[in-house]
Symmetry: C2
Subunit: 381 residues, 2 copies
């Protein structure tokens, strides 16, 4: 009941026929009336029509419902695509008896194809909305995800729950990560917005599978207030972050073609932003991620990847450990036996990098790059 675990929400999923194979492809989450809401969208300048529309609809800090379609991203579809996204909002508004501006629209699937809005209309008529419908909703947003992703965490007297799909743009054509999170905590949209931004930075934005930011990435948070509890922002943020991190971890574990989740801990940078830029350079390197696949503690590639960012970096201040074993210290080889280290890299592992004495740090999740990834993403869709 993830996305309906908090009081005040119903959800459902249906097969509208957007996907050719007849599986679930339409999800709806409904709060029954407009409630405080916040969202974080992709910063890709080629943002899809639903992202552009939803940005406008949530600008007033409220939303009633979130509709999600899978099987078509409605991205790179021009004016016709924007009309289709608007049509979906209208259809949902008619179905629920509300205004289209109360509806957030999300789409995921191949870029460049047209969204069949007539099928969305049909699908809506078949939707059964209930608290139990959360399971179908979580399935209906899947593209090549191998399993639905749901998470729930409890605060003092209130609940935060959510569902998500995807892992960056790791799937063939299946752009996008989408997440809908609900809570029955009583908070205004400004507080929700701040807490969501922070939680997203520490969870979904700390997930970097292949460096590809999609055109459709969206995380929406709705707060019914029905618990009557008004938690302080920090406490709420902690619970929200827990849900977001849980969902992000599930995405990394389900990343197509990946055989290991690798956590990159980077510390000692001048600030957190620099730490993240250095860690991302590591996670974006095909060479580094190939060495993860080979269980090879090839720290020289990490150093080279960080150096190529041209950020200030003193190699002689760099210490690198794989799975707790220091392999480089002061920027030179520490004499660890690569065979012994390699044995520790057969499953998920952590690489810890210290680049100096600064306060900046970050933690980034990535995966290894595998031949399966290339084959999978090389297949025509």
């Amino acid at each position: 009941m993830s996305v309906t675990a908090a009081q005040g929400f119903v959800a459902g999923g249906a097969a509208a026929g957007i996907k050719a194979d007849g599986s679930l492809d339409l999800a709806l989450v409904d709060a029954g009336h407009s409630v405080p809401a916040a969202a974080v969208f992709t910063s890709n300048t080629a943002a899809a029509a639903p992202v552009q529309l939803s940005r406008r609809h949530i600008a007033d800090g409220t939303a009633r419902a979130v509709v999600l379609t899978s099987g078509c991203a409605n991205a790179a579809t021009g004016a016709e695509g924007m009309a289709a996204a608007e049509r979906v909002a209208e259809l949902v508004a008619d179905h629920l008896g509300c205004d289209p501006t109360e509806v957030v629209v999300c789409s995921t699937g191949p870029i460049g194809t047209r969204l069949p809005t007539d099928r969305v209309a049909e699908g809506l008529s078949r939707l059964k909305m209930s608290r139990e419908g959360a399971a179908d909703a979580a399935r209906a947003i899947m593209t090549t995800d191998s399993r639905p992703k749901e998470a729930v965490a409890r605060g003092q007297g209130y609940v935060v729950g959510g569902m998500a799909k995807g892992a960056g743009m790791i799937r063939p054509d299946m752009a996008t990560m989408l997440a809908v999170i609900t809570t029955d905590a009583r908070l205004d949209s400004a507080t929700l917005g701040r807490a969501l931004r922070r939680a997203v930075d520490r969870s979904f934005n700390a997930l970097d599978i292949d460096g590809c930011e999609s055109t459709n990435d969206t995380v929406v948070l709705l707060a019914s207030g029905m618990s009557g509890i008004r938690p302080d922002e920090e406490a709420f943020g902690t619970v929200l972050e827990k849900v977001c991190r849980d969902l992000a971890r599930q995405m990394a574990e389900d990343a197509e073609g990946a055989s290991r989740v690798v956590t990159i801990e980077l510390s000692g940078a001048s600030d957190d932003e620099t730490a993240l830029a250095l860690a991302r350079a590591i996670a974006d390197s095909a060479l580094v991620r190939s060495s993860f696949y080979g269980a090879d503690p090839n720290w020289g590639r990490l150093l080279a990847a960080m150096g190529a960012t041209r950020l200030p970096l003193d190699p002689s201040a760099v210490t690198i450990a794989y799975a707790g074993v220091v392999v480089a210290e002061g920027g030179v080889d520490a004499g660890a036996d690569p065979d012994l280290v390699s044995e520790k890299l057969e499953d998920d592992f952590t690489v810890s990098i210290r680049v100096g004495d600064g306060p900046g740090r970050c933690e980034l999740l990535t995966t290894d790059l595998t031949p399966d990834y290339v084959v999978f993403n090389g297949e025509r869709s």
Copy 2:
């Protein structure tokens, strides 16, 4: 005779024992006395000791000789590595009877290992220097290159020739591209420097195999002046660029694990720099390069990769053609038959992207990302 095709140069290659398999691993190019010279080095902040040393040695605009070792990058080796690079320059200076500051030092191979300078000393004693020695020199700088890379072009009364190794950091641990280019044109070092910078930007820097800039990348140009011809800068630049582009193309074609060279032509950007940044975003995307491998004209991934740079981009102004067939126009699908386009992508091909009406353009060489690349780079060295 590539690197000795111009008058005034001799070269040689020897097996010094840096590489365990006993193959050639020490190359020397000698102009006989100090001549005008210029170089372009990696901008990686973790630049290797030989790069740091050579920057100083060539700062006065002259050099006599270039020594190159393969089998060890002498990178991430700290103060000891710098001492080793200095020792190599001293050994060569003793051998030739010149000052160490007249020697440019280049190294390529695994990062983090120590360069055995005693073996370099032995290798020098076995070197046979001649014009014919260019072939051995070109072989001695190879790491996992499958063949030596040499090129020659002729200007009006003068010659430009060179040798190179590598392809970015595409090889397992074998960081680095190195190139030595010589000419008998009579030019001062300032002119050489400007011409080299431009030629490198349009050749080696327009080659992006896996987005990894090595710690050791070096291109050196020596001008003996022995033809007596003083060409104008533009004419010389054209000949030099021809040699550099020839060598860069050979690198792309030899890129380990790659099955196709893909040329990305991007035009219509606000300036050349923006054009290059957008093209690089495409070449750096594992998703895009997987689709090249799959012969899939998946233009949506190109659009998403460019959008993720956050550079100004108007999707509705984007036109994309694969192998001459327009697949997207005005940012939306142009209705081309993907099967017919795919047939044209089985061998090397060009992707042409127009992003607007600006004057900025670039051409970038990359390759497809293949399962072989991952396997190759996942192997422990």
